[in-house]
Symmetry: C2
Subunit: 253 residues, 2 copies
């Protein structure tokens, strides 16, 4: 059965997350239902590069899908982008996947963006896409603190209690905090992340930005390997899964 | 009675427009109801720099409001930003207005931004904030065509049939079309605009971007002074009122 790769954009607000669950609609379900219409009615199993949580958005989620027969990737993209309506799940690109490729296990690099709206007034246009923090944040201090977390570490202090990964060892390649007008934007890049890792990093850096903690505190939290030492888990709405990289070249259409 | 200036951000999607109407909720009504709570229960009349249409957004709408007693502008901003909830109307700034100032008649310069999402896949994250146009647009050609419309002209060809302005003479100071990754963004600046002027300009430039019309066509439409010559009125959702300038200095809080 031919295997396809898809790049998805979705608004996580109305979903229980990527993964199929009993208690509500998932992005996986929307994609599988759309793909069933091109697969003789049988929903194929969709596997994602990252299993985003409830409320988390994506601009560059990558998903794999095995179909019963071959279909032109451009036609697949158009048909799925149509059949996912009216749900906020858009199909940006599609490709025939090379042999042995796997959306999750072949991923070499994942990128997330976290948006904090840092102003007094509440969000009107960006409601649901940002975390609203009223008190002014020192983005330069947050960035300086973030640099102490780069590299290969045991990230136990920044993982969710429910995290199922066998090891908490991860290599954080990039963690940039930058002010963009009224927003403070955090970009995180690694081969893979632990459950809630980005949101826990953001919640911890926030305390540095508020001046409640020093620049070396997030590093000390890391070294404690103790989740209770870190800051709060930042809300899901500010987080967006922006992209995945693979070694295999994909002929995107 | 002390007069206040406010800068508002709002999502136009759920409103009948700025102006109070019988057939649905207006932004004016939301602001006046919020202000009534600081005004002994009496809703003051709010006057806006620009009466945005149904579905049109704002980042920098300026509004005036006379209150029965003086109130610290920072407190006014916080209280109104609170009392407008849960509507998507945020109060970004407030100032005590100088004598003789008028939100609409003192405005010297208004700016709008129009966003076209120019890609195959439909919008998921930006749904309701962009006009989705699938076929690739030539933004450079649109920009070149736009430059032929700058200056003082009779813009009858680009005004709505319902436009109530006594004269169609307007001076267009700036009309920039630029590609920003998957978007084509149009920025329009003038002292004032006719009803639907920006949306009619965008609908007309679109035909140039699609290659259906030449670069000098929008100028010929202008010279015809005939509305039936121009392109379609671009949808409201892509338009955002971004700002107003006044000669009077305002001490924003």
């Amino acid at each position: 059965m031919p295997l396809y790769a898809l790049t998805l954009e979705y608004h996580g607000g109305g979903f229980v997350g990527w993964q199929r669950q009993e208690n509500g609609l998932s992005v996986q379900q929307v994609i599988e239902a759309a793909a069933a219409r091109l697969n003789g009615g049988t929903p194929p199993t969709a596997i994602a590069a990252g299993r985003t949580d409830a409320g988390v958005h994506a601009e560059g989620q990558v998903v794999q899908l095995a179909l019963e027969r071959e279909i032109d990737p451009a036609r697949l993209r158009e048909a799925l982008d149509f059949h996912t309506r009216p749900h906020p799940v858009a199909v940006r690109r599609a490709a025939l996947a090379p042999p042995g490729w796997h959306a999750r296990f072949s991923a070499r690099h994942r990128a997330y963006r976290y948006r904090i709206l840092n102003r007094r007034a509440r969000p009107a246009l960006e409601e649901g896409l940002v975390w609203h923090v009223k008190a002014p944040l020192d983005a330069a201090a947050m960035h300086a603190a973030a640099q102490g977390l780069l590299g290969k570490h045991d990230f136990s202090a920044y993982r969710a209690a429910a995290c199922q990964a066998a090891s908490a060892l991860r290599t954080l390649d990039r963690l940039v905090v930058a002010r963009q007008s009224e927003e403070v934007v955090i970009t995180a890049e690694a081969r893979s992340f632990l459950h809630h890792q980005v949101r826990n990093l953001v919640g911890t850096l926030l305390e540095v930005g508020q001046g409640r903690r020093g620049i070396d505190w997030p590093r000390r939290v890391l070294e404690s390997r103790d989740r209770t030492q870190a800051g709060m888990t930042a809300p899901a709405a500010g987080l967006c899964f922006t992209g995945v990289r693979y070694d295999e070249p994909l002929d995107w259409r």
